[in-house]
């Protein structure tokens, strides 16, 4: 275990059983997240990014199952823990905000009850203490206590998401995993939620894992990010590496496909379509869409290798073999 690493995912496989065989949604994924960083996971729909974090948090539901690998969190392999032991980790040490969490708030309960329930569920303290924790957490994230007395429908989407983050952060976990936290939010709310996540790190030293399909979100707050394609991590690097020196042809295509108000340029998109997890292409899974594909790309799967300090890519164009 490297110094400063909070989470190390090794060869993680999360498959789904289907009548047509196993869908290898997350297939042999390896990466590390360092203490106190904001680590992004990028990729288009169906690439496995949500399933990956469900695997890390160990909440994959049947017909999905973890088919192999290790998830070392603060040195402990979560996949070897009992369900009891895992409960001690969840929320207290590692919190997870699922996609669409803000619409999962109970509409007939006040925010107060929902926050207290969540806190009590994961700690042995009194209700009064839990209320104090809830208040503190809200105020740290710039929300007034008045929110506690409100019902979810009274709050805007951005406010709800910030309440969710305050709840997730109430017990001061070391790692917060947020899956698409700003999807479906308005522009200004998006900015507020991203700023809130950044403050968890800047002010309180939390480590944040941010899953998002929108590359602009990653550009805004990530320190490093991993790009996924077809169940694999195909590139990892600093945010500047990924945006200014993308190596994988898929990452290049992705970066070139984003329209921006900062500059007007022709965007092209990536020809072809994303493959199905039931039938990933042979060799490099991107080869049918890749403009640089050679014979080796069809035959051999490229390994994720460090080609520059801190910049890893899984592509036969690099590494000289």
């Amino acid at each position: 275990m490297e110094k400063g690493t909070i989470l190390e995912v090794k060869n993680l496989k999360v498959y789904y059983k289907t009548i047509a065989g196993d869908a290898k949604v997350v297939d042999d994924v390896t990466f590390s997240v360092y203490h106190g960083e904001i680590f992004g996971i990028a990729g288009e729909s169906g690439c496995g990014k949500s399933t990956l974090v469900e695997g890390v948090y160990r909440i994959v539901k049947p017909p999905g199952y973890i088919a192999g690998g290790e998830v070392l969190f603060e040195g402990v392999d979560l996949l070897k823990l009992s369900e009891e032991e895992m409960r001690d980790i969840r929320w207290k040490k590692m919190a997870y905000i699922p996609q669409g969490a803000m619409s999962s708030l109970n509409p007939v309960l006040r925010v107060e009850e929902q926050m207290i329930d969540a806190i009590l569920d994961h700690s042995n303290i009194s209700k009064e203490e839990a209320l104090e924790i809830a208040k503190k957490s809200l105020s740290e994230l710039g929300l007034p206590e008045a929110v506690l007395r409100m019902y979810p429908h009274e709050l805007s989407g951005g406010m709800k998401q910030r309440v969710i983050i305050a709840t997730a952060y109430a017990l001061r976990p070391d790692l917060i995993i947020a899956d698409e936290p700003v999807t479906a939010l308005d522009v200004v709310s998006t900015r507020e939620v991203l700023q809130t996540l950044r403050e968890l790190r800047d002010k309180y030293g939390a480590t944040v894992m941010l899953v998002a399909h929108d590359m602009a979100v990653h550009a805004e707050i990530d320190d490093r990010l991993a790009v996924m394609y077809a169940g694999k991590v195909i590139e990892i690097g600093s945010v500047t590496d990924i945006f200014y020196d993308p190596l994988h042809p898929y990452t290049k295509g992705l970066i070139d496909s984003i329209p921006s108000i900062a500059k007007k340029k022709l965007i092209r998109g990536i020809p072809g379509i994303a493959p199905s997890p039931l039938n990933w292409p042979s060799g490099c899974r991107f080869h049918p869409r890749c403009p640089y594909a050679r014979d080796i790309c069809k035959a051999e799967e490229p390994e994720l290798k460090e080609v520059k300090p801190g910049h890893l890519v899984a592509c036969h164009l690099y590494g000289g073999d």
Partner: protein, 325 residues
């Protein structure tokens, strides 16, 4: 009326009344909205956050909803008149572009049959041979191979193919205006680019104008010529896309533009945004400016008097008391 604007909204208002046993409150989803699109081919972005009334406006233009006040004109004639006198012609000339084209096709019809129904319904061809020719041309313009597509069912096509098929159908009809409500928000970026490029090609090559409705300034900036910015049912600013992005005048537009995430790690938001302490859902000022509660320049007048749209030069219009509205 050769020079009439392609589309014109004059003081269009739409009021929804809440349901429930005790009768609901009135809710002005669209409040005296006025804007127009020129007769020459153009792409106009209608930009607003959720609750801005943009989808309600789209539904009124397509004739699915009737305005409660004001009127909408297509080529100088009101939409209610079009629908009364020449509904089929109106339906051909004004087409909606959908986000997920999967749901609009009858799943048990093959693609050739689906497209032939369109040709027949709108009398686009006089013979079977001509119909086939039209369909082939439309498919090829969207880079679909007729022999690959025609014999298949909608579910056998990929997401990207279905999307192009829908655009091919639009091309078959050659409408004068398309209304595209968030057409790309659910699409992956790699498909998004292709879609936006086709909308642009439709305008340039076939003279098809588009009302592009979105919350996303990044894509709007990419394809639109002009933009109308909505806030809580009211128009706050109208201008060329360049001016709206680079010289926004209304404090609301300025707030939106400064909060757009830029896909470039070297241009991050510099200053910290003062987080809103409490933002309730749907607080709408009863009178005055819609942005008054969030505006840092708000004056007494802004609470009382609704600012009107004034032209500050070159067709750039803003509804704000700071500019004499």
């Amino acid at each position: 009326m050769g020079d009439a604007p392609l589309l014109e909204l004059r003081n269009v208002t739409k009021i929804f009344r809440g349901g429930g046993p005790y009768g609901g409150k009135e809710f002005k989803a669209v409040d005296e909205v006025t804007f127009s699109m020129p007769s020459e081919p153009s792409i106009l972005a209608l930009v607003g956050e959720s609750g801005s009334g943009k989808t309600t406006i789209a539904n009124m233009i397509l004739g699915f909803l009737e305005p409660d006040g004001g009127d909408i004109y297509f080529k100088g004639e009101s939409i209610s008149s079009w629908l009364k006198n020449r509904p089929s012609e109106f339906r051909r000339k004004v087409q909606a572009i959908f986000q997920d084209p999967y749901e609009i096709y009858n799943p048990v019809y093959r693609i050739d049959r689906l497209l032939k129904i369109t040709v027949k319904k709108f009398n686009l061809a006089t013979s079977e041979a001509e119909a086939t020719e039209l369909i082939r041309n439309a498919l090829e313009a969207l880079e679909l191979r007729p022999q690959d597509v025609l014999g298949r069912y909608p579910h056998q096509l990929s997401g990207g193919e279905r999307q192009r098929l829908m655009l091919a159908r639009i091309l078959l009809l050659k409408p004068e205006l398309t209304v595209a409500d968030e057409p790309v928000s659910m699409l992956d970026v790699s498909l998004r680019a292709v879609f936006l490029n086709y909308l642009e090609e439709f305008k340039k090559k076939y003279g098809i104008s588009c009302l592009y409705i979105t919350h996303d300034f990044n894509t709007a900036y990419y394809i639109a010529d002009r933009a109308v910015v909505l806030n809580l049912g009211k128009v706050v600013e109208i201008g060329s896309m360049e001016e709206i992005i680079h010289k926004p005048l209304h404090p609301y537009t300025q707030t939106l533009i400064s909060s757009i995430p830029i896909p470039d790690p070297k241009s991050r938001w510099e200053e910290r945004l003062e987080l809103r302490r409490l933002e309730l859902k749907e607080i709408r000022p009863e009178k005055g400016c819609p942005f008054v509660l969030r505006c840092t320049h708000a004056m007494k007048k802004c609470e009382e008097v609704k600012p009107s749209l004034v032209d500050v030069g070159g067709g750039h219009m803003v509804a704000c008391h700071l500019y004499g509205g």
